[in-house]
């Protein structure tokens, strides 16, 4: 049995507004194995990006991590002091945030930005060695060396994203988190960038958390999938099971709403709106929109429980979803 690289337990993150706290992440737990590709999917506002930011402790006020543990190779990230945290970021745990390519410094050349990332974590390198490492990183992502001397605006979107990947892996992290890596890119470029990401991840032997809302990409790339809804996890399953035998009603509706070129069919819409995270409904957060809602769902929130090997669901339709915690 693989040691888990990441173990998240009961993560809770809230944003404190004058109207009250918004429970962006409300009790999220999951594990990521060594070398595994783990997908985190959900619609906008479900809390997937917040989860990623929380793991790197990048949540700013009025947001706050209220509770939970996140163990990276056994070390609780939330218990680390400032110095250790800084050392952990980039070198053991890396994030490519949403819109990363737009955050590249427009007035610095690529190699300077990559050098910054490396120097911030390791003792000052010899310029030649630094350049060597930068060129190696660029090679890994399939970019030519001359990119190092270019400015961000001279590169295309796909190239910028690959630079971001190169920067994120420059210190060989154990876990890489990519948040909406390709949503602004064209289809062909998207394929090339995701291809690069996978190649890099496999070569490093790192684990990957792929966050996004594109179910097609998740199907193509990840080993296991977690579906989030309104700040909680609805289901975690192996990717094939998730698509062929989803258990949670939300997952089922989500899968059948995805357009595909495999067949022309009527796409399933999910009626209603996601719940307010400020005043969430009692019981299961999905019950107002669920075609299978029972009395119990209105009152009691289901817990995430393992109903088959490796398949976790939070739904009252399935036995064993009360009390059992992952």
């Amino acid at each position: 049995m693989n040691e888990h690289v990441l173990e998240v337990r009961d993560l809770r993150v809230s944003y404190h507004t004058p109207q009250g706290p918004i429970k962006a992440v409300d009790g999220v737990s999951f594990d990521v194995g060594a070398g595994e590709r783990f997908g985190l999917v959900g619609e906008s506002g479900c809390g997937k990006s917040t989860t990623a930011m929380a793991l790197l402790r990048l949540i700013q006020p009025p947001g706050r991590i209220e509770a939970g543990e996140a163990r990276l190779d056994g070390v609780d990230l939330f218990a680390l002091g400032e110095e250790e945290l800084r050392a952990t970021r980039w070198s053991r745990l890396s994030l490519i945030p949403q819109g990363a390519m737009n955050s590249l410094n427009p007035v610095m050349r690529i190699r300077e930005q990559m050098a910054d990332a490396i120097n911030a974590h390791e003792a000052r390198q010899q310029p030649r060695e630094l350049l060597q490492r930068i060129e190696t990183s660029l090679n890994l992502v399939g970019l030519p060396h001359r990119v190092a001397s270019m400015y961000p605006h001279e590169l295309s979107g796909g190239m910028k994203q690959r630079v971001c990947i190169a920067m994120a892996i420059s210190l060989g992290p154990r876990l890489l988190i990519a948040d909406e890596l390709t949503s602004a890119l064209d289809v062909v470029v998207q394929r090339v960038v995701t291809q690069t990401l996978i190649e890099v991840q496999e070569r490093l032997g790192a684990s990957l958390i792929l966050i996004g809302h594109d179910m097609g990409l998740q199907a193509q790339l990840v080993d296991r999938l977690a579906v989030m809804y309104a700040g909680r996890i609805a289901e975690i399953a192996g990717i094939t099971t998730a698509f062929e035998g989803p258990l949670h009603p939300y997952t089922r509706l989500l899968i059948s709403s995805v357009p595909t070129i495999e067949e022309r069919k009527t796409l399933q819409a999910i009626p209603g709106l996601p719940p307010s995270l400020l005043n969430p409904p009692p019981g299961c957060l999905f019950h107002p929109r669920c075609p299978f809602a029972m009395e119990r769902c209105r009152v009691e929130a289901p817990e995430l429980a393992e109903v088959e090997a490796g398949h976790w669901v939070a739904c009252h339709l399935y036995p064993g979803t009360t009390g059992a915690r992952p």
Binding site: H16, T17, P18
Partner: protein
Amino acid sequence: MLFRNRKFLIGFIIIAILVTVAIVSNTLTEPALRRTGSFLPKLPPASGWPLGTDSLGRSVAIQMSEAILKSLLVGLVAATLGTFLGAVIGFTAGYFGGVVDAFLRMLIDVFLAVPSLLFLILIASLVKGVGVLAMAVIIGMFAWASPARQVRAQVLSLKERPFVELARLSGMSGLEIVFRELMPNMLQWLGANFVNAFIAAILAEAGLSLLGLGPQRDMTLGMMIYWALSYGAILQNLWWWWLTPVFGLICLFLSLYLLHLGLDEVSNPRLAGRV
């Protein structure tokens, strides 16, 4: 809704109080009391003359009631002129583009580059015998360039927005779009700009008056300070004569600034510390 903002409310109250007191005391004062020699000169504040008297035997309190209103008038006229002119020019340049825009843009740049205070001094010194309104107009002449540039920039950016395209698709004409779609979005900004111009105009007037270039025959806060200094009020320790108008200016400035901050916060809730 605007009045629920604390800063705006406080600012508004201060100004309201000043204006009301000034108007009331103005109407209640007999014209005879305004003339020089109506009181004994250089008297410190006492019950008959609550803010003291100056070297010419006039009540400082009576002067203040007139001066506050006159200063506010200068601010009002100059700000209105500047903002209105600026808005019209900005809209025209932004919406119509082309040659019109090129010309107006040049005009705006010229007026912006010009050191307005120096020019104000120059003009004020050339024009003999300015009255309050003339002052206001002169100051207003230099206040339109900044709003014009910003309005133009706003219009240029709003022009490309999808809701403007939608308006075109709905059959609206260019002019209709400017007035019904673009203008309302600018009102808040124009309001803030107006308050800014107001403050700047009052201070400009005070500055010019201090230099002796003010409306000699009228009483504004700036002129009061000017007279006080000319008659050596500081040296003779007639503190009530020069301190009062200075304090008045500070009050006006603070209250208008609070109004401005309040307006800013209402239009941009993030400034108020809310999410």
